[in-house]
């Protein structure tokens, strides 16, 4: 019971203070669970982090679920996932309640007219940084280009793209392997 409360509290703290999503949380989770308390050893933590990144969904929730499950089983994962999600939920809800109508305010409209193009840049930049870190060659550029075109112009659901790309990668590697 004490551990359940601890798990909730640790992930609540992590959810409340990290900006920028799952990747920013990884070192914090490691510091709390591995370094400070030694509940999970380093190697297992790294293995599970790799799985949490490969699994679908929200990375922070994936991490919370596995840490909670490792330590206290099902209820541990419930406690940690709730802890990770609640701060965001509360803060955003408060913002949505007050701000959603505030958008029509003339000053807010001016501020957001400046923010919108910056958000587009914020989404465009990871395309290039991920391209670099994935080490994609120009020869394989058709894959992201085709996927982007299908979703942008063809309005295909990204879910199909993910299924097809996963299957395609698997078939390609099998053929290469033979």
């Amino acid at each position: 019971m004490k551990r359940l409360f601890f798990l909730f509290f640790i992930f609540f703290k992590i959810g409340l203070f990290t900006l920028g999503g799952g990747y920013a949380m990884l070192p914090l989770i490691e510091a709390e669970i591995v370094t400070k308390r030694g509940w999970i050893n380093k190697k297992e933590f790294l293995d599970l982090t790799a799985m949490a990144q490969a699994a679908p969904g929200i990375l922070a929730v994936n991490m919370a679920v596995f840490c909670g499950y490792k330590l206290c089983g099902f209820w541990g994962s419930v406690a940690s996932a709730l802890g990770a999600a609640l701060p965001s939920f509360g803060i955003i809800l408060a913002i949505a309640l007050f701000f959603h109508n505030f958008r029509q305010n003339p000053t807010a409209a001016r501020i957001f007219a400046g923010i919108r193009p910056a958000v587009v840049a914020l989404i465009a930049v990871p395309v290039f940084t991920l391209w670099r870190s994935a080490g994609l060659s120009w020869k394989s550029a058709w894959v992201p280009a085709l996927c982007a075109l299908a979703v942008w112009k063809g309005r295909f659901s990204p879910a199909y793209i993910v299924l097809l790309a996963g299957l395609g990668g698997w078939l390609f590697c099998r053929r290469e392997g033979q």
Binding site: G21, M51, V65, A96, R110, I115, P117, A121, V151
Partner: protein, 174 residues
Amino acid sequence: MIYWQIFKTFFKIGLFNFGGGYPMISFIQNEVVFKHAWLSNAEFTDIVAVSQMTPGPVGINMATYTGYAASGDVWGSVAATAAVCLPSFVIMILITRYFLTHRQNASLQAAFTGLRPAIIGLIAAAALVLCDGENFVDWKSAAIFAVSFFLLFRLKLGPVKLILLAGAAGWLLY
């Protein structure tokens, strides 16, 4: 029933989203702006901005806000947030329980050789969809975009600082 619609939509997003917050923008956009038309492109862009600036996982932030905006009340947020977490929950428990030994699973690695470039494409699509007349009203918007791109890409500015700067620029320019 709007809540059931929201729940189904976000469950699907939670189940198929790979690679974190940025590809999730493309998923939510496809469902919420194109398919259900719950939000306009500009409203959605504002939600992305708010989600990046507030603490916590960006995926939860976007789900909570989009759920609220789509239904107009708190229950839409509850439905969206619960639904987007549920697949993670089930999948991660199964993985922690059964699949730990298959860590360097060859098929999974193989699937990811295809997924990685596709995810880059999804993020690009999200950015391209947002390049419309609602977000780019004049040359000033284009200038803000260009400067933001430079600050992020070359000078590695953080998203919160960027949004604050862009907000100040908007206030001064418009």
